[in-house]
Assembly symmetry: C2
Homo-oligomer: 289 residues x 2
Amino acid sequence: MSFDLAAYLAERRRAVDAALDRHLPPPDAPPAIIHEAMRYSVFAGGKRLRPILVIAGAEAVGGSVERVLPTACALELIHTYSLIHDDLPAMDDDDYRRGRPTNHKVFGEAIAILAGDALLSLAFGLLAESASLDVVKEVAAAAGTFGMIGGQVVDIQSEGKPVEARTLEYIHTHKTAALIRCALRSGAMIAGAAPETLAAVGEAGSRLGLAFQIVDDILDVEGSLEELGKTAGSDQRKKKATYPEYFGREASRLKAKALIEDAKAALAPLGPRAGPIRALADFILERRS
Amino acid sequence: MSFDLAAYLAERRRAVDAALDRHLPPPDAPPAIIHEAMRYSVFAGGKRLRPILVIAGAEAVGGSVERVLPTACALELIHTYSLIHDDLPAMDDDDYRRGRPTNHKVFGEAIAILAGDALLSLAFGLLAESASLDVVKEVAAAAGTFGMIGGQVVDIQSEGKPVEARTLEYIHTHKTAALIRCALRSGAMIAGAAPETLAAVGEAGSRLGLAFQIVDDILDVEGSLEELGKTAGSDQRKKKATYPEYFGREASRLKAKALIEDAKAALAPLGPRAGPIRALADFILERRS
């Protein structure tokens, strides 16, 4: 029996969306504007890849979906905060995200900055309610200057400059892969993964994360505004360092493919329970938006 | 024997500064710019009031200084992140803080935004290493939209508008008092305070926090650039709602004094061990900068 990825994703997305709605303050709770702004970006039609990876990480070691939902939400809140801050005029200065005006275009820069700050704070509150101190530590590290923020710093500093391959890899592994790896590991940790299983899941997560960003780069070159919900070719306009620019589109696709295979190889010891992660790996490679 | 507040503060400040230096990434750790930016604002000569309140909260229930130092640092990192973001052009647009150019004037807006984000993430990492999930939850709530961020949102929304007394109190209790209360409570929680002791400490913290902000408002009217390290009268220029503007300077001073007395009354059941908190309460009222 083949794994029905579309059904799996749809069901998990529904569960994640319902949990996000429960865990975010109501839109009319005062001060309403900040809660509206947080919800505007959280419910902007994201793929929910990170929370679904948390769930798949738990399932891979026999954990329950229900138990990891708050942690899954926390990872999505951190991802969303990073997008809101990245889009600010002082950073990437983007007007559109997922086909809609960016947070600061709707709520103004001050509220957008604070909405990002609030999502990050709420994420740690959720982790404290539902996970362990180890998971809080793991997420703080992945989100910090040796993880996601570090990648964003080097990305900004590299704009418009020629970069070496290792700088490009640094940006991608830190800006994107660190949180994706952390999502998979967090789910497995909460489900009580043994150390060697956790290491395997982490290996797979690093490779999935880098593959995800390489595919993102390729889609940015190939995609249209309609498909991506943001302006295609925006990396090039902003003179961002990308894999296709550096290695060419074909070599980049082969690299992504190899990373997905490596991720699957790392998961081999987990057996059939890692089926959802394997299916997500294929999804990451084959997605069109 | 009277309590030597100056010696107490100097000793605690030294311990906090040394711990902050240990817990912040080295300034040359890549990407260096973000670690320099974080350190620039953390070591800008703050009073370390919040970390010292964490310590005093622990001491009030017989806890050790050493044990709560990482949590003390975390509260200072959160305070510092909030100052960096508050000073941004999109927010209060301040060029000076503690007598030095603000973070974004030195490092640029993008790095300043990321330095704030990084300090918040690091704070939760520190809490996870040293405190309990209850403390993480407490801090996340105090820093979030029903605490500090909520106060900042209403503060920004109220600029240049006539505000009611209850809005003014909302801003002050949320923007400032929530984190000060949380500092005292966190120290007491880690030291194993009984529920009724924790409630008393929280009561005292709320009052100390509000008194602190009222005194801050008064100093802003009275102070000079030299004493405060920021432009005096800046609240008025920005049409910020303040206590002296609303109630007059004399009534505001009496209100602060009454709050300090209330705080001390709340601490009565704790006996002599709450001596440092009482001394800090006097310091909050009598400080000149």
